[in-house]
Amino acid sequence: METTHYATLDETLYQQTLANGLQVTMLPKAGYHKTYAVMTTNYGSIDNYFVPAGGSDYTTVPAGIAHFLEHKMFEKKAGDIFEVFSRNGASANAFTSFTRTSYLFSATDNIKTNLDTLLDFVQDPYFTEASVNKEKGIIGQEIEMYEDDPNWRLFFGIIENLYPKHPVHEDIAGTIDSIAKITPEQLYQAYHTFYQPSNMNLFVVGNIDPVETLAWIEANQADKEFAPATPIQRQFPEEASDGSDIIPYRMTQLPVKRGKSIVGIKGLAPVSRDRAGLKYRTELNLLFDMLFGDSSQNYLQLYDQGIVDDSFGYELDLARTYHFATLSGDTEKPQQFSDAIISLLEKASDNPDLNANRLALVKKEALGRMLQSMNALEYIANTYSGDDFGDASLFDLVNIIDEITLTDIQSVLKQFVRSAALSVFHIEPLAGDDAK
């Protein structure tokens, strides 16, 4: 087992790739009562065009299938897996993102039994016509719930602008129409293609002994037969590398009280899946902290002018095959908001907030936040298994943050923030909607 000690964080990570290819990572946390385990496949909502395991031709599947599969994994011939976890005092859940599907439990007792349950249910698909059809009503309501969330609509509004072809613009859960087409056969096909142990990882954090825990996991896996690993082949529609296919602006009217504005920036160059990629993401995060963070003069001016309020936020989404940044907020004047943000972005290289003192300040803050996040077992596990930077992980952030210079920030600004990569999406209240 490979052991890495991170002195600044005072944490030790244990890692082993099993014979079947499953990558196991463990982080013991003394003093904690619970254990949190998350099993993740490198497969998400964007993976809709692929060569099925054992096949040779590409196939297209309905949007929302990865999320649908996640829901249906919990139902077995013998009953509901939530029941098995509940009986053993575990609280279980799952989530699907653009590029990942994760299954998890948190428990303070019966850890071996709960780990067996997790591994067994994720490695034993069971889909029937009746159970698949029944799920359509439930997921249909989930889709309707998100449809009513204006922040969700705003987020997808900008992604649709930035990625007119790439399936990242499709809702993770799909649509009522797309899920209507899903069949048990398609679920099995996706399962056998993407749930191979060599495409998965298991992260266990908490009150554990890593040697004992690994022995449990190895024994569980040794009892099962797995088909030989097959390479995963998936493709994505090509998007213009100069940003020329980005839709620069759209708006929609919704029955809301307050308007919203979002500015998106599309990363036009691919990001490497290694330490350099993680450093690039960290540089971008520090860049936005410097330009738009709470302590920036830019934010202060926007706030004092009433252009932004506490609902203002920015985030960077970076994963397999895409990356983009968004800056958004609630506002009575969406146009004023996006104009102000774009004006700051386009002149950012001369912005007084981009100076060495501020870089030192946001680096201090980033280091402190990193240390604080070590309290949150779920955050550590989900971030670790969600990221895709080869041997580099969030545990390397202490050193990466330390290395970053003002020159790095200036250069990442130039590379990422380009006028051709910008887009705007607005939500305005329905005209005449004076709903009480």
Binding site: G89, I138, S295, D304, L371, Q372
Partner: protein
């Protein structure tokens, strides 16, 4: 060892030493009787005090100080607990031992709290006009936007419907638009002085700290003696015999059906464990009757759950459904309650619910936020200061008969339905 100290009449300090976390969490709770007239003022105060102060005249100055303290977290939240309103000032700092070089983040963090709370941005007994006006405008916009969050909106409307007898319970913990209008920069400062002087104060520090050093630093805060508050924490209202119902129609995709039930059982009072179990079986756990029957069997909802407010004797049910199915969903919910009250649930479900509640309780011990809020609640309700083993023993001892008896006290009082008409997609 836990240290408890009364710094002055009505001002307590609790130090909870632990090496479990890499941070130190400091919470100053200001506790006042819940009153309609002050809820909105307290909410606006939270925004103002978070924004700037005499020593940090702009937000950028204040935020820069927090960044310099290695990303210290500082925030003020407001909440209701039964008949009291809690104004919680929270700061989290990284323990100095993990930081490079010789730092004094904890000492500076405490000094920062003293500055922002006792040297607010005030001149001539009024909050700074520009700051006040901006925060008031922002709060007004925020309050209006609650309409855009349908789950929150439906739950507030249900409260409005249920708390017929109490204006204070009807006002959301974060205030309302009507009360906001009347607040001025000077009236708010006057109220703030009153809050600092009269609220009960409960301070908790959690982390790997030297209790004596922390006590010395906090004794320095200008918190003078105050009269004890005799408010009865638990809110009660007479049950009504006919259920109140209200339906609103809005242009949404999903309709919301929320129900309120009265229970005569309060936090760590007689029958508490049995009611906790009854709620868990009804809709408060992953395999509950509501989840299984509304979602898994009938496929009518994505979420269908219940929650128990043990300070107000209230259980609420929340679901998101198709408007056309409302009668069927109501029927299923009523059947599940009847099933529970008739004891027609499996021993398996009973055992699962116990295991789930036990796991939830112990899991809470891994959260610094949960531990400090538990400390506050234990001060408010001394009966709740039980050891983990005691909680588990009491929970384990609950019998099916006790659960059924507790379930039979659950009485439907109010139904709020936010119906939908198709929104423009």
């Amino acid at each position: 060892m836990v240290t408890k100290k009364e710094l002055a009449n009505g001002v307590t300090l609790t130090v909870l030493p632990t090496t479990q976390f890499k941070t130190t969490r400091i919470v100053l709770n200001f506790i006042a009787p819940l009153a309609a007239a002050t809820i909105t003022q307290r909410s606006l105060l939270a925004s103002l005090l978070e924004t700037n102060s005499q020593d940090y005249p702009t937000q950028a100055d204040l935020a820069a100080k927090l960044s310099a303290l290695y990303g210290a977290n500082f925030g003020i939240s407001v909440s209701k607990r039964g008949n009291v309103h809690v104004f919680s000032v929270v700061m989290t700092v990284v323990n100095d031992k993990f930081l490079p070089g010789a730092t004094t983040v904890l000492t500076e963090g405490l000094a920062f709290l003293k500055q922002v709370l006792w040297r607010p941005n005030v001149t001539a007994s009024r909050f700074d006009a520009a700051t006040f006006n901006r925060e008031k405008t922002n709060m007004q916009a925020y309050l209006a936007s609650v309409y855009d969050n349908k789950q929150a909106y439906a739950s507030l409307q249900l409260q409005e419907l249920y708390f017929k007898n109490s204006t204070a319970q009807r006002v959301p913990s974060f205030g309302n638009e009507a009360d906001l209008q009347a607040i001025t920069a000077s009236s708010l400062y006057t109220y703030y002085q009153q809050m600092l002087a009269q609220d009960q104060v409960a301070i908790t520090v959690l982390g790997d700290v030297d209790a004596e050093q922390v006590t010395a630093l906090l004794t320095d805060l200008p918190l003078t003696a105050r009269t004890a508050d005799t408010t009865d924490l638990f809110y009660q209202q007479p049950a009504i015999s006919s259920v109140v119902e209200k339906t609103d129609i809005q242009p949404t995709n999903q309709a919301k059906l929320n129900l309120a039930y009265q229970v005569p059982t309060y936090y760590y009072q007689p029958n508490y464990y049995a009611l906790l179990m009854a709620n868990g079986i009804f809709g408060g756990s992953p395999m509950s009757l509501l989840f299984t029957n509304v979602r898994e069997r009938a496929s009518l909802a994505y979420y269908a759950s219940s929650s128990y407010d043990a300070f107000r004797g209230l259980i609420t049910v929340q679901t998101g459904i198709d408007a056309a199915n409302v009668a069927q969903v109501k029927q299923i919910i009523a059947t599940q309650l009847a099933t529970l009250q008739a004891g027609e649930f499996s021993n398996e479900l009973l055992a699962q619910t116990k295991a789930t509640l036990k796991n939830q309780y112990i899991t809470g011990l891994d959260s610094a936020g949960y531990l400090t809020s538990q400390e506050l609640v234990q001060q408010l309700v001394p009966a709740s200061a039980v050891a983990t083993e005691e909680f588990i023993a009491q929970l384990t001892a609950v019998t099916k008969e006790q659960i059924v008896a507790a379930a039979q006290t659950i009485k439907l009082q109010a139904v709020y339905f936010l119906s939908s008409q198709e929104a423009g997609k």
